[in-house]
């Protein structure tokens, strides 16, 4: 199985986001202020999205409809930024379902909504992105008897 070009490009993009985003987040935390905080609010959502893409990377070419994945990654990346954005404006005084809007977004959107969306998406694409029977059989062929090997491989 070889990853398709789209899988590779998404993996490279994910690695670039992680490699550049990590030191940038360090600086953003250190600098603080409105700019530093806005950058941090973006990065704390973007980095897990990049880890998702990197973790699934080699199999993404198997997905038929990638639009859902992109929407999911976009929502994940922008969720906290949306909370930060609304909390910094008059929208913070608007109430929704028992809470101020930014808090409602955090609880119902970033938390509960994402839980249902990511869980359902993972179950729906498991046969393509998860583990299939061929892979299990291939691994069993590759594996030497477990008793002969331990963690560090000698």
């Amino acid at each position: 199985m070889s990853p398709g070009p789209q899988s590779k490009s998404l993996s490279v993009l994910a690695l670039a986001v992680l490699a550049i985003g990590s030191p940038l987040l360090l600086v953003a935390f250190w600098v603080g202020g409105p700019v530093g905080t806005a950058v941090a609010a973006l990065l704390v959502g973007l980095l897990p999205a990049a880890l998702f893409a990197l973790g699934a990377g080699s199999k993404l070419h198997r997905l038929r409809r990638r639009l859902v994945l992109w929407l999911l990654l976009l929502a994940l990346s922008g969720g906290v930024l949306a909370v930060y954005g609304t909390a910094s404006t008059d929208l913070a005084q608007v109430w929704l379902a028992g809470f101020p809007l930014p808090t409602a977004l955090l609880i119902y959107g970033v938390g509960l909504g994402m839980l249902i969306a990511t869980g359902a998406f993972y179950a729906a694409v498991f046969d393509r992105l998860g583990i299939d029977r061929e892979e299990l059989e291939r691994l069993e062929r590759i594996a030497s008897p477990p008793a002969d090997r331990d963690g560090a491989g000698g």
Binding site: V31, V80, D127, I131
Partner: protein, 498 residues
Amino acid sequence: MTGLDRPGVILAALVYLAVVAGIGVWSARRTRSARDFFIAGQNLGLWVTGLAAMSAAFSGFVFLGGPGLTYRLGVSSLFINAPLGFTAALLCVVLAKRLRLLAQVREIYTVPDAVAARYGSRTAGGLAAGAVVVGVVGYLGAQLQALGVLFDAVFGGGVVLGMALGVLIVVFYSVAGGMIAGVYTDLFQGLLMMGAAVAVFAYALEAGGGLGEITRTVASSADFGPGFLQPAGTVPWATVLGFYFVFGVGVLGQPHMLHKFYMLKDPRRLKWMPLVLGGSQAVCLLIWLGVGLAVPALVAAGRLAPLARPDDAAPTFLLQFTPELLAGVVLAGVMAAIMSTADSFLSIGAAALVRDLPRAFGRPVADELRAGRWMTGLLAVGAAVFAWAYDDLIALLGTFAFGTFAAALTPALAVGWSWRRVTAKAASASIVTGAGLNLLLEFLARQPFFPWLPKPPLPPGVLPTALSLAASFTVLFVVTLLTSEDRLEDDVAAVMDV
């Protein structure tokens, strides 16, 4: 009011303890090998694994520490929970399937085993084991502190006495049953807590007059005010964003959760894991949210005296605003949550001390099962002393421990198992940076012993754990780019391709 004033509470707690003792005895009879002791014989189904992972993660930290932290910080504390929207799926996509398959092709019992296998490096595995021991002492300390608070609330006598009793009970229980006792108590406790969380949430809403009335009361009170309900109303944004980063990304470095994936009998059952794990976590968080908001509302309305100790929020609410039987079941369930999590940590810490570290030095222990049982006692005492010296909220001690695991292990595991180019030297440097920086910053911030040492030069509100995690990622990438690619073994490469 203590539990002694309400006999039903004591009765329910005793019935619960009898059930747990029964599980311990039953498990001890089934624990015949190191494989049973450390990974429950790799024979668990989806629900047991999912609920065990949830229960290992949700403990005194969530059920006692969560409401306590909300009482002090307001809804800012929810940034710790918000990442649960994606963490279960993230675990499955990035690590769960690979770790489970690795356990199929190699004799893998621990997370440091997985680090050693990935990088073909005993040094990297040994460093990971060292970080695990540090994190275990912190996390176990949080559990014992929670147990002390709980015993004090129910029986009186003080937190320190409660912690001492907790050490005795947890050590007996863990030495007897190892991981099998842990996972089956997790299952029992997980089911119990999910039911209890729904009931307590309903009572919290009723006591406060409904969610809208609770939030209006809190927002209009002089003690709490509208900022209490805003995402960063009581603390700087750097703190809440740090919470979100550490608890969102750092979940990939938590050995007590990752370890559970080794135990799954059929790896294809992972398909439903995010919904089972995430769903059960969301249900249990109703206690954090419900009690965390209801108690400030009751204080604001003058129906409850202000709390001297924020960690008393959950026990106080349960003893004063719920029926005796429910209070007893929930307090017993919280005790179960603490004990099952403590048991998991004792097993993981003991494995690091008697298996991973000796192997890293090329001197494996002959009888790991026997040595593991001795080490559980030493770890528990060390953790209790550490918690007593730390002297802060349960949730903050838990955050330090979670952050230690996160900063030390997340980059080496999450990026390392997804990208072949990461080298053993990079992984080792990342582990040392994450664990070392986090310990150093926490020590400088809290130590009273050397007044001439400076406080860490951190901007206000920035979490040491968040900085350490970002630094650990950065070091991983920099050292990877500066070192030559290692050769991967065929089976490890095959697992990474899945």
